[in-house]
Amino acid sequence: MTADAPDPTPSTSSGPPTIPPGAAGIGTPPPAPVPATRSTPEPTSPLVDEAPPAPVPVAPARSPPAPALSPSVQIPGNARRAVVAVVVCLVLLIVLVFLPVVLLNRLAGLSGQGVSFSTSLTTSTVIVYGVVVSVLYGLRSALRPTRAYGPLTVLVSLVGIVYLLYLARLATFTIGGSDTTIGLDAAPFVTLLALVPLFGVLSGIVVTVEDFARPGERLRVDYPAPA
């Protein structure tokens, strides 16, 4: 979906590359002004689906003037995005896998104290779905500057909906003592929770449409270069 390509507009700074609007990789970038001097920019840009035209050295006096009112775009480097993706993934693994599994095991361990706990929800279900959702969210985070972001948002939200609807069927919990049992059916609540990723699906669709209809538009706002 994405192809690494040379940064069309290397920055003179030592930070991440600064890309003028339209050259952000989503869509066909216009010719960009090329500075006379070149520093050591990020060697690649993950943004592009089509390779931008190779930078052509042009004399500064003849280069077209940069659009003064349009903000430029500054995409974080691959390494930084990978770190963010891993952090997102780890946080979600803790929330969606670690804590629920610990809780389920704690409740299951109550049987040694004369209290029984039963549920249709298994730790393997939690682990499998939790890992899938966490990894997809991490991947989505890493690919945010690309066209894959919208479809991935739709995909991860759909997976979330499926997970929650599946979870709703299993969300019955029974805890019992010697002569009293208490059962809880949280299916309506879990089903209602599926509204949250539903908005994610809608948002992902809009992002996808935006990225294909107006390439680069989103990046100007998401990754504005410092003035």
């Binding site: 002569d179 059962g183 929770l193 990723p197 948002s203 935006e210 538009e217 989103r218 706002v221």
Partner: protein, 265 residues
């Protein structure tokens, strides 16, 4: 300088934010529900308990269960169901309550009624005080989103209406007209929570099975009352009750119950 944000961008951002708001609202709602549920105290049985026996012989007992809902959310679809069994596991009665709702911050009573067909299921209930295993189920929906069911076991103290029934024949005495008088003392306790009415039919037979004499007693004993009466039987000299038996049958409140035959000395 703030950059103008495109319409589609704003829409996608707004949708994401709405999703986030929905998530936060739901999580806050759950937190509030948990806190609210922690304020609920177990129901207690209270108030008056009424009992009666239908003409078809079914004891109907009604009690009120007090329930306090100091939380913020309503109990809806609240329903109690119960069943009573003999110690050997035989089902002797079922009951329940109408479907009720309790708004948050209210207290109320749920009328719980159960029915025990005295004649059909087990006549043991007529003569024996028992601890009957009772299973109670309470189903409700809390805060519109959580279905809760509570099942608990208790023992129900059943008081028999003809508890410790006894018919004790006295010593036969010869009357001046040649007949033989045998007094029979009939005693029992009505340990039930309802009054007992009916009549008692007593038949004394000789050792050969010939009916020598019969008599009847009207029975009317209030709840938790006792009955103690003596019935006199006169026998013709040709029909000796010695070595015979006495059969007793209670009829009333839709129930006909034949006590075990007792041997006469």
């Amino acid at each position: 300088m703030a950059r103008p944000r495109p319409g589609l961008y704003r829409l996608s951002r707004a949708l994401r934010r709405v999703g986030l708001v929905v998530l936060v609202v739901l999580l806050l709602y759950v937190a509030l529900v948990i806190y609210s549920a922690s304020q609920i105290r177990p129901a207690s049985s209270g108030g008056s308990t009424s009992a009666q026996v239908d003409p078809n012989g079914t004891a109907q007992l009604t009690t009120n269960v007090n329930l306090s809902n100091p939380g913020y959310f309503a109990f809806t679809d609240l329903h109690v169901a119960l069943e009573l069994r003999l110690p050997n596991g035989t089902l002797v009665g079922t009951g329940g309550s109408p479907v009720e709702s309790f708004a948050g911050g209210t207290t109320g009573r749920i009328p719980v009624t159960f029915w025990m067909p005295l004649s059909r299921t087990s006549t043991t209930l007529l003569t024996h005080d028992l601890q009957l295993p009772m299973r109670i189920w309470l189903n409700l929906t809390y805060a519109s989103l959580f279905s809760v069911n509570v099942g608990t076991s208790q023992n129900y103290s059943w008081g028999a209406p003809l508890a410790r029934f006894n018919a004790t024949p006295g010593n036969p005495t010869s009357e001046t007209n040649g007949t033989i008088l045998v007094p029979v003392a009939v005693t029992f306790n009505n340990d039930a929570t309802f009054a007992l009415t009916g009549n008692l039919d007593l038949v004394v037979s000789s050792s050969g099975g010939v009916v020598c004499s019969r008599n009847a007693l009207d029975v009317s004993t209030p709840a938790h009352g006792s009955f103690d009466q003596t019935v006199d039987f006169y026998f013709a000299p040709s029909c000796s009750p010695s070595g015979g038996s006495i059969a007793m049958t209670y009829t009333g409140m839709g129930v006909t119950y034949a006590f075990p035959t007792q041997r006469l000395p």
